[in-house]
Symmetry: D2
């Protein structure tokens, strides 16, 4: 092989297998991003990002470098508001008929301990994913929010002379909505539906409060998803939701799990 004066564009060459590809692109890109924050207006975080487009049957390959270029040119701003714009740009720049993006990122909220009011940051795993079709309308658009929680077993409390097993769990809500909402408000709902919410710093008076609150408020994973579903079903902004709860059981080495999804 000799040096080429003009480099071949292998990706743009014709393909005769006649097989369209549903999604092609980059996966697991780690990138610093800036998201919207209810209290501080913006928050710096780090996302794991997948970006895809469809590939018509007559093209051999897609142009992988353009995906991260779009991310970078957007000055790392990604959020519920500009997500559709990015998907549109993706579709246009890659000359595609559909585009898809999934971002996952930790989101931090400053939280006060219930009695001592000591402040600390709590981490919540969030995500946004969406797809756009040829008509530039979002085909799917989901925001996903997880919160670590405490759950205390109603059965264990009921049958035991004292105590009740409890554990860390995580509850996750996926939402299709009508208009923008704040992550903080959904976390608030999730935490209210647990036996107790959890914190990064707890002084002794807080620990007493949380222990007693959880004991007064036993919840199966089944209760957690039902209580969250109950609140979300009354939210006029929510068109569809899925709720799941997973307990890292303290008496087993596996999880208890519940899931439901509903149209509002």
């Amino acid at each position: 092989m000799s040096d080429k004066a003009e480099m071949a564009d292998v990706q743009s060459m014709p393909d005769d297998r006649e097989i369209e590809i549903d999604k092609v692109g980059v996966k697991n890109v780690k990138y610093p991003i800036i998201v919207l924050d209810k209290v501080n207006s913006i928050q710096n975080t780090i996302a794991t990002i997948d970006m895809y487009v469809n590939l018509p049957h007559h093209h051999k390959g897609t142009h992988m470098s353009r995906f991260v270029e779009i991310l970078h040119e957007n000055k790392n701003m990604i959020n519920m508001k500009n997500f559709p714009e990015i998907l549109k740009e993706l579709k246009n720049r890659l000359d595609a008929e559909s585009s898809h993006m999934i971002i996952r990122f930790p989101y931090f909220i400053k939280k006060e301990a219930p009695i001592s009011k000591t402040q600390s940051y709590m981490e919540y795993q969030c995500g946004i994913w969406g797809s756009m079709d040829n008509d530039d309308i979002m085909k799917e658009f989901v925001v996903s929010i997880s919160a670590p929680i405490n759950t205390l077993c109603p059965c264990s409390k009921e049958i035991s002379r004292y105590g009740a097993h409890n554990q860390r769990g995580v509850a996750k809500v996926d939402l299709k909505v009508k208009k923008f909402f704040w992550i903080e408000d959904i976390i608030n709902i999730i935490e209210k539906c647990a036996s107790s919410d959890i914190y990064s710093i707890l002084k002794r008076e807080d620990e007493k409060y949380i222990t007693e609150r959880a004991f007064e408020n036993p919840k199966f994973v089944e209760d957690v998803v039902r209580d969250i579903a109950d609140m979300l079903s009354q939210d006029a902004n929510v068109r569809w939701f899925a709720v799941e709860a997973e307990n890292f059981e303290s008496i087993h080495n596996h999880s208890a799990y519940a899931y439901l999804e509903r149209n509002n």
Copy 2:
């Protein structure tokens, strides 16, 4: 609280929130299982298992202990053949209208190096998942098989004076089929569609063979999924398939990815 002469069955208590739960059960159970092996008839492996049933709106909770009991009573045998029976038992024992199970397990195959014929074991990640409805008919039943592969970039080869970047990748096939098939046969298809398959032991003559074979056989992730799709679409036993390929790019710190699904 005092000791109870008779223990309350809290899970069976009525629930008035009127919210049915789609899936409730155990998640991330690690269990030794025995699967079917084309050469040795059976293979011992270790599975990660999720088992769920639906929960009618009038019941407060499910009975978590029965899930793992079913696993254990089945003498750890789980495979494509008895999967429907386990789902049926799950549904019956939990008094439910639908049941779901997902198992994921590593599967080992003894493989010969291409020239030296040196033998070693290769690990392939496999999975089976399925759902059963009230009529005892499988609603969904998918077998999933992944194989690590080598892919050499056609663009890099074409535009460079010498060499071409290549990397480890993984290709995954999900299948809905008409009747039982051997995992080995699907792995065989996947490995044929890569730039080269990969091995646990390679002597120098094998390394030369694989290097040259990959260079003669450049493939984008797009090519890998199309070639696998081409072969699966000619398999009369396959009713539906999804194929994905992910390259752990050697020139990037992220993956290139392609996905397609088709009805046959």
Copy 3:
């Protein structure tokens, strides 16, 4: 480049940087192995294996294929008894002055629930690592055993009117011993030192028993490591040990952790 009649042995070429390499070899090899089992004499499991040797400054590279060959030729048997033999073979076959191996594997034990006596398998993470020097004597030889446990917080119990937060934790013991011992016996020690041990299947009567036992038996991570240390320091077979305990706190999203090591 043309086809070579005789293939160069690049690894054996001289190196003039005058830098000896402490460890070189293969890492993260997944292989089916057979370990010793107190009840069933042997157990099939799957190991993640690292194997290294030193590389004198005058050699350019090591011969990577020989590492997995030794594994395979050994018919997948690896255990405390033949570990030194494998290290010796590694050193000899790679023409090295020192050799190192680390294996990690899940080990399953059939366990009876405390009251109902229902049987199920529990998974314990185990490991063996060792190094051999030029004199064929083991320089380091450590067996590592982890067990998932339940811990109930003594502070939470003391300060609260009712209940006490508890959680899943994991306790790990690393041991240097004089002669062979059974993994089962160390797991037994670890489980006795927790607020309660944990199970894959628990019926209601078992859940009551475990809830009450944990409440009667509160333990900080500090208590867990001290109680295990107390028992190990009385074991004449143990020359050195390290103990760690990690609680996946049910009131925090991080762990509480304690560690100590001692010569006996």
Copy 4:
């Protein structure tokens, strides 16, 4: 149990097992932190943090809430410069004789593609850990920096008629130094010692450049660690270093690995 007017301080109670604990504290705390950045003076990132102190044999437990309090009061600033101060505060606030902290965080650097000069961010995994003894002097203080790299196999190139297998790898440097240094400078050294460094965006002219550069510059993991060691041994600021390189081999499903450590 009745409500306590004054809450017992269980952790401060005496302990009669006479066993000192080497390390006790919090593990796996996720916290937003601010680190120093050569170009932008500071960088927002997210750390995973472990903080421990020793616990004298006569105390039952440590006070877990104070660890994260110190983090928070420090306004999330953690870096090589204030690390000793945090360790000192940890020791004092917990009334201990030794303190330990480990932080791990992703660090992003804006990087230009070699020919097209297209800009994008690259992620590098970094860490700092240290211990302080009773005399307020750092007993151990290590900065750890990882960079993803491309490595092309010298043996494969030599024995094959064309091509050479190459793959993504990662090289890690651990350093004990005399005075502050910039993470960027060590990344620069690591990337020079690979077959090629890697990027988040590469246009076709960059891909050609990197493919050819890697082919002209074949490296075993052995070569990577030796070349890095060679450069670090000439750095007067470095008192001790450890270097490791791991290749995610493109012809195997396991890694090739090399490690060495030296006093300068």
